[in-house]
Amino acid sequence: MKVLQEGTGKLLGWHDPDEQRLWVHEHKTRELVDKRCSVSEAVSRLIQDGDYVASGGFGHVRVGMAVLYEIIRQKKRHLKLAGKTAVHDADVLMSAGCVDEVEAAYTFGHELRGLSPGSRRMVQTGRVKVVAEISNAGYQWRFLAGMMGLPFIPARNLLGTDTLRYSSAKVIEDPFSGKPICLIPAAYPDAVFIHVQRADKYGNCQIDGSVVEDIELSRCARRLIVTTEKLVDTDEIRSQPDRTAIPYFVVDAVCEVPFGSHPCQMPQDYYFDEEHIAEWLALSKSDQGVQEYLDKYVFSVKDFAGYLDKVGGAALLERLRRIERYEEPMVAPWCTAER
């Protein structure tokens, strides 16, 4: 097998597909069992120090923040993070000191809000290592290869760039066209958490809006925690099966967490809490600020319900719903502050 070029990036979360098949066979039950539990239990049971973890949604859209805060609260360490389309989620997790290594597609940025002071500082001071580079399409195709039980998926991006040189991909000559083609290795994360609009107690999930890459990610995850805005009866799932995005047999835990994406967005439900994100962006400019933020919002509360009270309770949440419905304008303090 002649390989034309080989990226020097660290290959995170790859397994021989046969090894992964045996893992699935032994660990993923096909039985309909009630998987409801608390977030605290799910995190303590399903996420271990040193795990390669990935978050669903889109970095600050439909993100399982309750799981993320709980990872911090339980002081998980040495995680390897999929910096897939990582925005707020990755920033907080890295800043909190839970992460040693990251593979970066989009990370260290808050999109329109600018760069991420906290996680950038972790990298720039050597506390977090970027062990591989990739692109957004490349990362989701890592999950596609995983979902398909394959060692790799071919792709025509990355070629010719340093992104490829620092990736874990390989380039071969395509035996059909004779042209160079990139082979992107599968990813099988140890632990994944995905937040959805609706799920039943077995783990069957419905998602509103774009599914982003959660179809693929849910299926290649070795352990999957689902948090849901709302628990629904399984009859509701079975009455509209073409709305199911995630089938129960890939799910390991189901936790009901209303407003569980705060301060991130939940499409068709509530908007970003830009004031809270601005507070984070301001505080995360220093290690002390990060500590202050975490003390205030994570360590001083028992769970996500306690956190919601602290950030503004029902009145705030209702306002975020109104903004999502275009009934109130969005405010962006992080923007005003810079001007």
Partner: protein
């Protein structure tokens, strides 16, 4: 030393957005990120290109945007979209050739239109860590043509990138093909606060295309770390119209989130 006299009726950012929007033709498709590319795209959809087919990487096909999204995954990208699908679907059809224009920003660009958004300094312990490729490498690999919109300076137009995140013309003519990238034109236009550029066919080096009103060639060269080709005739970019400015300020970005910067 070069003139960049500014018309008081509009800001450099507003000019940038208006000039860039002009490159998006009606009935074409554009794969767009947040920030200035999005502002320019929204402006095009509300002026000369109502049938513009907009793609956002999280899975939005063909929205008719009402309010400025914060994120390319924001539900606002789905306003009156024809499809809310997945990143796999969108990246796949992009790779298959359905994207006319990829619309990108960048931190550093070289004379071949290659872009760096990964690191400033050493990769292992960078002076400045940037977000990485995001969808930029994908868009620039898959789109038939890439539009780049960025602020130019000696620090952003560089002779050598600290990191080649996203492919432009790579090492010159034939470079993309040799690397195995999909057939396409690669970088097509670069729009900055000073001018519009294209690429010389024979060398694939950055070439001045039009100067913005009040800007001269010396200013363009001065604000670049590499030498820019200057053809015999250089046009002048159109100034923003009153309607364009009204749309930008009152409709597209009333909070001044992007154009206020």
């Amino acid at each position: 030393m070069g003139s960049t006299s500014q018309d008081p009726r509009y800001t450099p950012t507003e000019l940038l957005a208006c000039v860039a929007s002009g490159f998006l033709e009606d009935g074409c498709s554009v794969f767009v990120g947040t920030g200035l590319p999005l502002i320019a795209t929204m402006l095009a959809q509300r002026t000369h290109a109502p049938g513009l087919l907009i793609f956002f990487e999280a899975g939005s096909f063909g929205p008719q945007l009402k309010a400025l999204p914060i994120s390319v995954g924001d539900s606002r990208t789905l306003h009156r979209a024809i499809s809310a699908s997945s990143m796999h679907d969108l990246m796949s059809i992009s790779q298959a050739g359905f994207v006319d224009y990829g619309f990108l920003g960048g931190a550093q660009m070289d004379s071949r239109g290659n872009i760096n958004t990964t690191v400033i300094g050493d990769h292992a312990l960078p002076k400045a860590r940037l977000p990485g490729s995001g969808g930029a490498n994908d868009v620039a690999s898959f789109a038939h043509r890439t539009l780049i919109i960025m602020r130019q300076s000696e620090r952003s137009f560089v002779g050598k990138l600290d990191f080649l995140t996203t492919p432009g013309h790579l090492d010159g003519p034939g470079g993309r093909q040799r690397a195995g990238l999909p057939v396409g034109d690669g970088p097509y236009r670069v729009v900055t606060q000073l001018a519009v550029y294209d690429f010389d066919e024979g060398t694939k080096r950055l070439r001045l295309h039009s100067l913005h009103p009040g800007v001269d060639v010396a200013a363009v060269q001065k604000n670049s770390g590499f030498s820019i080709l200057v053809p015999e005739r250089v046009a002048v970019s159109p100034a923003p119209t009153a309607e364009q400015l009204r749309l930008l300020r009152e409709v597209i970005d009333p909070a001044g989130i992007v154009i206020g910067k």
